[in-house]
Amino acid sequence: MGIRALRKISFFHLSFLSVTFFITLLLLLAIGSLFFVPSWEDVAQNIWSPEMRYSLRLSLITGFISTALVMLFALPIGYALSRFHFWGKGFVKTITDMPVAFPELVLGLCLLLVFGSTFVGDFLNSIGLNFVFTRKGVAAAQFFTALPYAIRIMKSTFDYIDPRMEFISRSLGYSQFETFFNVSLPLAKNGILASTVISFARCIGTFGTVLILAGGSYMKTEVLPITLYLNISYGNMGMALTSGIVLMVVSFLAIFIFEKTEVGF
């Protein structure tokens, strides 16, 4: 915050902090307990298996790509929903929120139907974008899973930014695009951070959508959640839990580093 305000510890602080620490503890307990189910040799051995390495790499690559794409779309859409007035805006807002409510299986089916053998799919196919049962499909599935969250957070963030700041930049001769980059985005920093964290986490964690659209092909479209699922399905809980633990560690590191970059106003 930059401000060094008077800080006498009050009941207010204590109560809010205790709620915070209570939930943190509960989550920590929940997360930590998973570490104690598999044996350590098991984890150590599984962690270096080619399958694990493959799926970790694919998770990271697709995770980064789809998060980048999500933000690329969420920024203009969130901005448009916050600033512009246009016909059907309420409807658009609802539609972009809706996928959050879908079970991953349903969202996967929806995407499969669109990208499968419809004219959209055929068109995309013809320009080399085949999403069904491919690695591109993994990214596509993650993209559509995370996008609604990012849009909603960005909209709410831009709502909190005074449009006059943008107007000032324009009155100094900068175009609306330049203003968007010079003023709107920097001011939305904290919101962008929040939606990037959530998007990335959602991307690497989503399972059902990827499974249906990209297929759970061994060592092909296999990301960490799929590894987890496939291994549980034939009873190899050791490998499954190892991939769960890898996923946790990856997300912990990614989020921790992200959150560290946070700034106050």
Partner: protein, 229 residues
């Protein structure tokens, strides 16, 4: 493009590899829960071979006209067994013990995963459907849940497929209580070629290959019992 039950991944991968070498082609295997791959078929996704975890799915697919009746092969046996957490806290030694008051049993939903229907049939066959009802703590829609519940000691016993137990048994998470053959109902894993297979010729070849002698050897290697004869 092959749709396969996720539990079959190990033998499938090997057979796929061999098949690719032999015919010098590329195949895609799409693993998933039987229900999920069934849903993909339902969504009209073109597939060549359909290998779910239980006959029920093939039957349903046949009813909808998605697979070709003549190409259905029964592949291997799928044997249900009783699993209990390590140390057998409720001291379950057979089917009858499941009816003892206070024993927490997790079973598959009779209509959902293949194991559910089989379990129900086993109970019926042994005349304990009524008595076991109060003990059923949870009716699970997926078989994975049953494994998890037992391995994490949330229930005292469950009935699942034998091939799911290897890791947990090895790691000392659970114990297996076999069901005698005469009280058991053993299932088979089927394969079939899809009606709208894009590469019908190869599909038929693969379908036959996994049911062949050579295929059976691989199944056996991964601990499955061929049902051929």
């Amino acid at each position: 493009m092959i749709f396969s039950g996720a539990g079959l991944i190990k033998p499938m991968e090997e057979m796929r590899h061999n098949f690719e070498q032999k015919h010098n082609i590329r195949t895609d295997v799409h693993y998933g829960g039987s229900g999920e791959i069934f849903a993909c078929l339902a969504a009209g996704q073109p597939a060549d071979v359909f290998i779910p975890g239980a006959e029920k799915y093939t039957d349903d697919a046949l009813k909808n006209g998605w697979v070709i009746k003549e190409t259905i092969h029964k592949l291997v046996l799928h044997e249900p067994i009783i699993v209990v957490p390590m140390g057998n806290p409720a001291n379950v030694n057979g089917l009858m013990d499941l009816t003892r008051p206070g024993v927490k049993v997790a079973v598959g939903d009779p209509k959902a995963p293949a194991i559910g229907r089989v379990t129900k049939q086993i109970f019926e066959k042994n005349g304990i459907s009524e008595k076991i009802n109060p003990n059923i703590t949870v009716l699970a829609p997926t078989v994975n849940q049953l494994l998890i519940y037992v391995a994490l000691r949330q229930v005292d016993a469950s009935i699942i497929w034998k091939d799911l137990t290897s890791w947990a048994e090895e790691k000392g998470k659970l114990e297996v209580v076999p069901i005698p053959k005469e009280k058991n109902i053993i299932q088979t894993i089927p394969t079939a070629v899809c009606t709208n297979a894009p590469n019908k010729e190869l599909a038929v070849k693969f379908n036959d290959y996994i049911a062949s002698e050579e295929g059976m050897k691989i199944w056996t290697k991964w601990g499955y019992e061929p049902c051929g004869k």
